[in-house]
Symmetry: C2
Subunit: 219 residues, 2 copies
């Protein structure tokens, strides 16, 4: 099939990137449901027919896009974490990479986070599997840190992951282009909130007691 890996193939992959970039941009603005293939084609600098030649359906576009996003996120995470051996430092680096990715201006990640519900059937299954890989990456980081004694005892690591994901992913929502805080500053601040909590040193003791007492869980 693709036995030819010369300039033609290179151009094809390049064009594919351009198309997905355009799709990401359009989907981000209007949402998958609100976007039209014509808009995507225009953003990619081609006619709708040409887009159709590359992507037979709007849904294929979304699937490829989200797949690319998740693969990129995982690659960035792994690369960021790789140089460190200390589990806590690896966590910190992973957090930094995730936040920098979301704020890099790459629209992929936004679509990945906010157009999940537009997937259906097989596409959804496929993405769930990919997402599980990324979650596994984080669970490994967390588990390593916990095993090395970094984690406060009794915390639920899966809940911690979701807690952290939420805090991190939300930045894609609120951070404006003109925000004075750099992505790195936000990451550092978040890291300190996560590690140390928000309570003042002198309040930890007394407060801890009251919180511990109420343990039955309401509702």
């Amino acid at each position: 099939m693709t036995k030819n890996l010369g300039p033609a193939a290179a151009r094809r992959t390049f064009d594919e990137e351009v198309v997905l970039d355009a799709a990401a941009h359009v989907f981000r603005r209007h949402g998958f449901g609100g976007a039209t293939v014509r808009e995507v084609a225009q953003a990619a600098g081609m006619l709708p027919g040409s887009l159709h030649y590359r992507y037979p359906s709007k849904e294929t576009l979304l699937l490829d896009l989200m797949e690319r996003a998740l693969n990129r996120l995982l690659a960035l995470g792994r690369a960021a974490v790789e140089p460190a051996r200390d589990p806590a430092e690896r966590l910190r680096l992973g957090l930094g990479a995730h936040i920098e990715a979301l704020l890099s201006g790459d629209d992929d990640f936004y679509v990945l986070l906010y157009d999940w519900r537009s997937l259906e059937g097989g596409a959804m299954q496929r993405m769930l599997r990919l997402r599980a890989r990324y979650e596994g990456f984080w669970d490994d980081l967390l588990l390593d840190a916990a095993r090395a004694g970094w984690a406060r005892p009794g915390i639920d690591l899966e809940l911690v992951r979701q807690f952290g994901f939420g805090a991190m992913n939300w930045v894609a929502q609120w951070r404006q282009e003109n925000d004075p805080r750099t992505p790195g500053e936000i990451a550092d601040a978040f890291w300190s909130y996560l590690a140390f909590g928000l309570l003042a040193e002198d309040k930890r003791r007394t407060f801890g007691q009251t919180a511990k007492k109420r343990k039955g869980g309401r509702r």
Copy 2:
């Protein structure tokens, strides 16, 4: 105009709720852009024409829906916080209320969080103003706590709010119907993560030093 506040008016408000509930349900599943007014009408148990009689456009529906969501959220928050005087306890109660609302099964909140980009022009401005009220509610809680000495010095309260919003709002995304954790348990866990952090007691000191050293902020 509406000088008659008898049963007719009561039924109207009731019907309005039903319609908005239906819209919330449909918008949540397919997204605003992907949903059709016909679907909303059917979910509300009426013909498209009847829906049009109440709401002249799809966008009106979204605006009213998100307005209701934000008003409800603010009302729930205020009610939850009201009985306590201690700033930290008020924060804890607010967090519980927010999470319980998101997990109550009310589709409004999901739409509020994830269809923001479908608003345009005046509707967007209006919602921004309402959102600012809710953010103000939280900023007051945070500021009171900080002024009473509960907060670790040097933390950015606005960043903390976004951090917390992210962690809380994300639960609407990941929590499944069959999750063993009750909303109350999730809220309690999140509260402890926020207050105390995730680090083990014995690691706080040494770790703190390394974290403090790197202060320039990357990038």
